[in-house]
Symmetry: C2
Subunit: 237 residues, 2 copies
């Protein structure tokens, strides 16, 4: 687990892969875990609250806080899952269920702005991976991560909202233990575990948005959309 | 991340700490992550299905599978959260919400038995930690882990169901980023991220139930009960 230190503040249009490649020595097989915040900033996925006109619904949900932020959240939401103003748990257009539909004011580029999730985090991961290959010649995997809460538990853990160059689910379906019993957990969300592991060395307050996981035997190539539970199998809709 | 290899099959009454200490060189500050399965086996938390008389409710929930297993699950449950026979998501007496109340037939000691969660996983972690100190002189932290699903997402990640010698939540409440914004995620479940990271090197099929995380700056001393969302703050009850 290697934190990538010394990254500057990222702005729209920055070549994030070049910023990363210039600050760490990558190797084939590395998993580069990038906090979505810097991906979103590089992609210009930032909203300026002064440009936002809050709807009546946003005012209802604001619970005394800035209704313009709630308006941005509604714009990012496919549906609201829970609301206790000003707290909103929403499903994003990508299918992720998370607080504030991923809209966040912390580590925003400037006062009065909020950072959104990337439009297509899997696409962001693919592009970062290709650009890192171009710059370093290395075949790496890329995970774009965010901090999600977990129902019934306290505290967030980082999960993968985008990935490229690895299979995010290790499928154990039909696999058996040494005694021949079929395993209960039929798939392990290794991309989520990798994102969480990287968070441990990044540190939210230290402003280290990128870490490299070395030595994990990545397999295949998938995308983080596979981590979204299909509606028909979802017991929690 | 160091997998502890060569552990024998664990039986009731085994000195699990001695089995671990004999197979790895621990250092002060290490986090020893132990899959609950071996803790439960050492503590005799195993049910024999032949000893179980299924209730009518267990038969209803079994959906064609062995109703005795459902009876064991009901016995471990404080309440059912979701049921789609034979799949049951339940809250355990500890307050954990997980599939089958943690009851699992895979890697059980023998055919016709199922493994339960430890009676008191935090207590198990404390005892393991003290015994490891006695045997090695090292001050380590211990996490007892299990694989939990996550609503709306596919795949399990390992989480902490017991811990000792570290604070499971890194509390960021009121902390601010470089620009002065209060952080959205007010606490990070580092114990869950450590459990997930350890899972990556353990490998479910390889039968490696223990891994050591070295170099994580553990702080304080808490228990995994802190990771359970209090009912009054819980949006998902």
């Amino acid at each position: 687990m290697i934190p990538v230190k010394g990254l500057p503040g990222v702005r729209e249009g920055d070549d994030l892969a070049a910023l990363i490649a210039g600050r760490t020595e990558l190797e084939d097989g590395d998993v580069v875990v990038v906090a979505h915040k810097v991906v979103s900033k590089a992609e210009g996925r930032v909203a300026r609250l002064d440009d936002v006109e809050p709807s009546p619904r946003a005012r209802d949900l604001a619970g005394g806080e800035d209704p313009r932020r709630l308006e941005v959240i509604l714009g990012e939401s496919a549906r609201l899952v829970r609301a206790r103003p000003p707290l909103v748990i929403a499903e994003t257009r990508h299918g992720f269920v998370c607080a504030s539909a991923g809209v966040d004011a912390s580590n925003a580029p400037e006062a009065g702005t909020v950072v959104l999730l990337p439009e297509d985090p899997d696409g962001s991961a693919v592009r970062l991976r290709e650009r890192l290959r171009e710059l370093t010649g290395c075949e790496v995997a890329v995970i774009v991560s965010d901090s999600f809460g977990r129902p019934w538990r306290q505290g967030t853990t980082d999960v993968a909202i985008g990935c490229a160059g690895l299979e995010p689910l290790l499928d154990l379906h039909g696999k058996r233990d040494a005694a021949g019993y079929e395993l209960r957990a039929t798939a392990i969300a290794v991309a989520d575990e990798l994102a969480g592991a990287a968070e441990l060395v990044r540190g939210k307050l230290d402003g280290i948005p990128v870490a490299v996981v070395r030595g994990f035997a990545t397999q295949g190539d998938g995308n983080a959309h596979e981590l979204v539970m299909p509606a028909e199998r979802d017991l929690f809709r």
